[in-house]
């Protein structure tokens, strides 16, 4: 499609495509100047291992956002399935069984949420907000707020860097994204995920069982949550009911920063990858600067708002011919 761009639109086009890359580069540069250890191999390995759960969960969240179902429950679901994993391990001392139980628990939570959302008209935000609360409550109640130590060779295995380079969590990230790519781009589930996000009613009227595919989306997301809970457990060597507090919000932020839209129907995992990289580097860079919590939160929030501002403004420069006060009413909250 040949189009004539004026300067404003051309620069909007440039910023829209590369703003995140430019901002990531600037951020890396700043962190590298402040902190000598930032640009080292071991730090990048740390970034990947620290943020493995976030990266893996973001795959499921991407599916959700494309289909316009915002999932607020992922962090609590990780905690609850981790606790199930820990309790099964405590009872049987069988790590394979425990890992299976953890994944099954996560997928069950997904099935529960997905079924309610697919079979009723209740807003997904309400359903997953409820799960955000009850899943965390159950996780804390089942363990009396104590963590369950997992003494298994599997924990050691997960924390080994093979030939000093690659550790199992990194491999799991890659596998999660490969699986996500295949599901999203090569299967009916993926195609209908886009269709549901674009126009759910039309998709339904075209004869697609949208309810089943919605449940499928939540099962996919649940599976990712299960893997993330294993990664989280292995990193701490324990099942921790208080683990990954706030991860659900980080995952949503990462997916959006990458360029996916709240309004659904479009987007993809490639964007999510860039969003996750940005947020992971931001988290790591800020935390290695030895800041107090207060400054950490302040800078993190400000950077997120700044990035969104640049992205949205450049998107508008591209789509709107001239500056005007016209409203681009934000996508609805749900």
């Amino acid at each position: 499609m040949q189009r004539q761009y004026n300067f404003r639109q051309a620069s909007g086009y440039f910023f829209q495509r590369y703003s995140l890359a430019v901002m990531t580069a600037v951020m890396v540069l700043i962190f590298a100047l402040v902190n000598d250890n930032f640009l080292t191999l071991s730090n990048f390995q740390n970034v990947l291992e620290q943020n493995a759960a976030l990266a893996i969960v973001a795959v499921g969240v991407t599916f959700g956002l494309i289909a316009r179902v915002l999932d607020l429950s992922t962090g609590s679901a990780i905690a609850l399935s981790g606790v199930v994993l820990g309790l099964v391990f405590q009872a049987t001392q069988n790590i394979a069984l425990a890992l299976g139980a953890g994944i099954a628990a996560a997928m069950l939570i997904g099935l529960f949420n997905g079924t309610i959302i697919a079979k009723t008209d209740i807003n997904p935000v309400i359903v997953t907000l409820a799960a955000y609360i009850w899943a965390r409550g159950l996780a804390l109640a089942l363990t009396e707020k104590a963590s369950i130590v997992i003494q298994s060779p599997m924990v050691g295995f997960m924390n080994t860097r093979f030939s000093g380079l690659v550790s199992p969590p990194m491999v799991l990230i890659v596998l999660a994204y490969l699986l996500g790519f295949v599901l999203l781009n090569k299967t009916r589930l993926g195609r209908y995920t886009f269709a549901i996000g674009g126009d759910e009613l039309a998709t339904k009227e075209a004869g697609v069982r949208t309810d089943l595919y919605k449940i499928g989306i939540f099962l996919t997301s649940g599976f990712m949550v299960g893997i993330a809970s294993i990664v989280t457990m292995a990193r701490m060597g324990a099942a921790e009911p208080n683990a990954v507090f706030g991860l659900e919000l980080d995952a949503i932020v990462a997916v959006i920063i990458g360029g996916n839209k709240m309004s659904g129907g479009e987007g993809g995992l490639r964007m999510t990858i860039f969003g996750v990289i940005f947020l992971a580097l931001l988290n790591n860079g800020l935390s290695t600067m030895g800041l107090r919590d207060a400054y950490f939160y302040f800078y993190k929030g400000m950077v997120i708002l700044l990035v969104l501002f640049v992205e949205v403004t450049s998107r508008r420069m591209l789509t709107e011919p001239a500056p005007s006060g016209a409203s681009t009413a934000g996508a609805a909250a749900d």
């Binding site: 915002l70 309610i116 009723t120 008209d121 209740i122 807003n123 935000v125 309400i126 359903v127 907000l129 409820a130 799960a131 955000y132 609360i133 009850w134 899943a135 965390r136 409550g137 159950l138 804390l140 109640a141 009396e144 707020k145 919000l249 949503i252 932020v253 959006i256 709240m262 309004s263 107090r292 919590d293 207060a294 400054y295 950490f296 939160y297 302040f298 800078y299 993190k300 929030g301 400000m302 997120i304 708002l305 969104l308 501002f309 949205v312 403004t313 508008r316 409203s327 681009t328 009413a329 934000g330 996508a331 609805a332 909250a333 749900d334």
Partner: protein, 332 residues
Amino acid sequence: MAVSQPNRQALSPISWTESLGSWLERGGTVLVLLLLLIIFSLSAENFLKVQNLQNILRQIAITAIIGVGMTLVILIGGIDLSVGSVVLFSAAVMNSLIFNQVLPAIPAILVGLLAAALVGLINGWFVERVGISPVIVTLGTMIAVRGLGQMILWINNSWLWVRDPIFYYIKTTSWLAIPIPAVIMIVLYVIASIAMKQTVFGRHIYGIGGNERAARLCGIATQREKIWVYVICALCAGIGGILMGARLGAISPGVGQGMEFEAITAVILGGTRLSGGVGRVERTLLGAIIVGMILNYMTIMGISAHYQRAVTGFIILGAALLDQLSRTRSNK
């Protein structure tokens, strides 16, 4: 309210689920509340004592006050996740001004409210003028404003005592057996519910939430009014900050965490729809009272805080399902 009851007469045969639904829609929340009140007072003898009821009122006051602003934001189709952080921020601002003897109590409290309103203005500006989804904007300010609040605490040795007699008065005094925080809550709800029905601004909010484009074409300055709604919501959180300081006697970095979800729960339980345009402010108060009563009852019965949390989650689901049932009628 006209908006939530589309021509009832035009619908003919009524099945029992539909009639149950319409019945629930009209008086459901009140009836659920009365039902719970009866069950609880019969099964726990201390429940209906004046002191316990006062406790419930104290516990729900802050959530309910934030619920006023949250209802308005949800009515215009938005959401505000930053209110919990605003509670911390405004409490930190006013109490550090008082603690360091920069300002006397009343002006300091006003500055605290102003700081809260400023956060609301930023939220509204980003949502309306820049055009970013409210979930994401308020998530960003939720993180950043919590950081700001904690910075103020950190400057004051990471902990602030609430010393002024005004706060002590708020905490300990009751008027006609109603604790002051609850008095403030009731006054705010009376003002808000009258304003929503009687003022142009209130009617505009329903108009914007129902159909924003139509509202704009009717000549309503939708953007400006929506920004005002975010400011009002943050102001409610600022008032929550005053009461929170009074209640706790000290401000610590975790103050207000999770408050946003408590307020949203009250709004949802009150039957306001997240899609905007439909709902009533007064009902949010009922929602907050229901949650407060259930939590209080569980505490009396000795159920651990963690199970209480789990139950709260399922209450939200149950309320949403009931609401769904009531909608089967109005959708047909």
